[in-house]
Amino acid sequence: MRQQLPLTIIFVIGVFMALQYFVPHQSSEFIYEYALDWVIIIGVFAMALGLWSLFLVHFAKIQKKSAGWGYSTIAILGLVYMLIAGALWGIEEGSPFMKIFWYIYTPIQATMFALLAFYIASAAYRAFRVRNILSTILLSAALLLMLRLIPIGPLSGPIQDIDRWILGVPNLAAKRAIIIGVGLGIVATAIKVVLGIERSYLGKD
């Protein structure tokens, strides 16, 4: 029963949503919109589950004084502070919540994103070697596309044209091929889930 009920629900709703795409009638639209509302409601409840899991994991680390328990303390304090600050003083500009958002969270986010600049350099240095034909093509394309952003006088124009060709022709061809494959994969995976062929996510007793 534990597996049968979810599988039945998945099958019925999966088939309905697949057929709904072909039915423009208002009643089909109504059920579709109703289902979408429920996705949002389930998401909100799931967030509560997630917060509980987060709290339990970090609290256990603090209790046992495991390695890195100090970071767990900061995580819990941050979580509790933002919850209370948001609830008590709101989230308008200038509120304690927004101050933490702008002066701590945003710079940290930007810092993490900025790491990419350094990591791209080290990844490019490691990976772009002329080992074989394919890696040579990869290297050449990467170099040409990077040169696009560097003004090199009279060569800039021809390089822009080559880059537009690279982005518009081989890149596009490869991307379309991957999209077609991914599209078929999506349909196949959806069929596997709806028909219950793939059911590892359901668990068992």
């Binding site: 423009p24 009643s27 799931a46 899991s53 390695a67 590892s200 996510y201 068992k204």
Partner: protein, 396 residues
Amino acid sequence: MSHRIKAFLALLTVALPLTAFSQDTLTLPAPPQEVQAFDTPNDNGHSIAIRWKLSADDGAGANSVTMYEILRAESPEGEFVSRGVVAAGTSTYDDRGDKNTNRPNYFPSGTNFYYKIRAKAGELSSDSEVAGPASAKGQWYHTGKTVVLIFMGIFMIFVLIFIRQAQKGKELYVRPIGGIAAVDEAIGRATEMGRPILYVMGLGAPNDIASIASYTILSRIAKKTAEYQTPILVPCNDPIMMSIAQETVRTAYLDAGRPDAYKEENIYFVTSMQFAYVAAVNGIMLREKTATNFYLGKFFAESLILAETGSIAGSIQISGTDEVAQIPFFVAATDYTLIGEELYAASAYLGREPLLLGTLKAQDWAKGLIMVLLIGGALAATLHWDFFVKLFSVKV
């Protein structure tokens, strides 16, 4: 000259120019012709389509029509109300409204309406004949999407044929994929080194196909880690994904006969914020010194940060995503990469179950069919065979 003659001449002097002027103002623009009003096809029943033949004065002559106004009434003699205006040169209009009765622009389904088109040229206008009655009705089938339905049907037939063949025991060949072949070696390495495995399911939503593919692969990998008694860490970006991952891993340990070895605290929710999640996962890699990292799912800008940090930590890395923009980063920075649909196929490769392999073969045949159609389409476009393009057009 007598007073009467003078008065008559004065009258003529004033009246003649006036007559000439009023003759010009009385020339109305030609009305639109052949107005048709009918239920908009393939819709939810709250729209009527109106078509007409342009006025003869559209874009020509002194009385050049500048716009058309669409008027509607509930009876041919009733009060006509404006429903919209379109520019000159336009001969179509869809009178649409809301399906909710409590909205101001509610458009009732099944009510008869009458339409006429007013051609306007400045202050002057002329109306067409009244067309109608027309009423909006919802359709139960969208004829414009028939091509999609046919392809869905063909694909389903392929799936059923190959599943049947697989169930009968026929050997279905699937080409080897480096990343999938390396999974056993990667897990073995972690076992030998006595270090945990990190499994990152990406930042997709639980209903994303890449996420579904990821937790189906997780069940296979978790079963192996249960057999080898290697810890597996699964930090999650989404609470629903966390619940599914916990259930998946628990079941895998059960199937491997090691339910006691399952540790729920190894599969936990971190945060749904992108870079906060990446920071947490990077911390795990560097502190726990994971021997093997799997990045399988939907990834965005954080893909390179994860891969490079894993490289710094000395982990063997197997990645797979359907996000095309991130594939080059994974190719450059990880040891093995599953590209696009290879991620979806991985579960079939690892499990080798007939049903899954059958679906994989069906995908390959569908791809073959698409290749044939692509070649046909390219030929048709070159030879200007428009019917071929029209055959496959989808009207949403």
